[in-house]
Symmetry: C2
Subunit: 176 residues, 2 copies
Amino acid sequence: MQHTALGYALLGLVQEEPRSGYALRKVFETTPMGTFSSSPGSIYPALKKLVKAGMLEQCLPDMGGKKRFHITPDGERQIKSWLHQPVTKTEVANSVDIALLRFAFLQNDKSTQPTLNFLTSFQSAVREQIDSLETYLNDPDNTSLSRHARLAVENGLRGFKAHLEWAISAEREFDA
Amino acid sequence: MQHTALGYALLGLVQEEPRSGYALRKVFETTPMGTFSSSPGSIYPALKKLVKAGMLEQCLPDMGGKKRFHITPDGERQIKSWLHQPVTKTEVANSVDIALLRFAFLQNDKSTQPTLNFLTSFQSAVREQIDSLETYLNDPDNTSLSRHARLAVENGLRGFKAHLEWAISAEREFDA
DNA sequence: CCAACCATGTAAGCTGTTACATGATTGA
DNA sequence: TCAATCATGTAACAGCTTACATGGTTGG
């Protein structure tokens, strides 16, 4: 349970600094992280589950009605193991956005090594995906591919090539 | 009901030619359309719902155990209205893959006009999205943006720019 | 004073996933 | 004959969305 994108997004944001449910919603509403929803009906239950799972704890109610949460040692462990997983081909194929969420949260890591590891595995995953798509386009079985279908696949190809170039240039930024 | 990606994917594939549930699964398993799942637990119930909604009908069981479906006039109307919707900014932001599914199915249209309309609105939607991301990066409120966060946004930007170039070159292909 | 926003939640409904279950047919 | 694949389904479970509900605070 809680192996969901939203769960990890909340965990990562709270790890940066203790936040309230409302503050978390605002992040989703006002940043490009908006892909990970923002409706109260998803966030509050998810927070409750994270608390029940022992990954978050409510801060002592110092003052002001705000109900803030902080991450627990167990939560830290959980998110770290999530962040340190190598990027797979299916992850880039089905949910690059989640991969990039992982990349963003690697900023909370003391060392840059995990970031470099991420970029390395991200590159190979993307390369695999590019190969698959090119093989598909060149497969003699698929000569009947309509122009629309071919263009749709080419769109995917362009997207993955852009991801690849990004990863290479990002790697250069961290080499320094 | 049935305003779901999978529902439309099934509708579009059956529109091309009558197919069985198993044949549809194979499409998801063997083509880049795999993003739209393939588990029997989602496809068979979805087909049943499409039949109940009057958008699909079971073909007469000519022979062979296969249970094929064909699209009804109402189904044709439904999918056409879905395909002809202009692409919006939020669609490219949250689900470009669905937008590209729509593009692919525009091949079933007699005229190329809907395809050109799609490409036009797709371009403006992508441009809007690019503007948003660039504004976000340049917003003085966000000077505290970490390197990771900035790079994550830049990844998004590269992706959308690739989409834009694709749409422009696709448009050229249909001009001829 | 009233609107807008802060802030937290619940409930119904739908979709999708995983896992299970079944039986026919084909090829080695 | 035995495994793989064809072929169709069901059931439990979990997640998200929409919509509703509530109450406090701030600013014009």
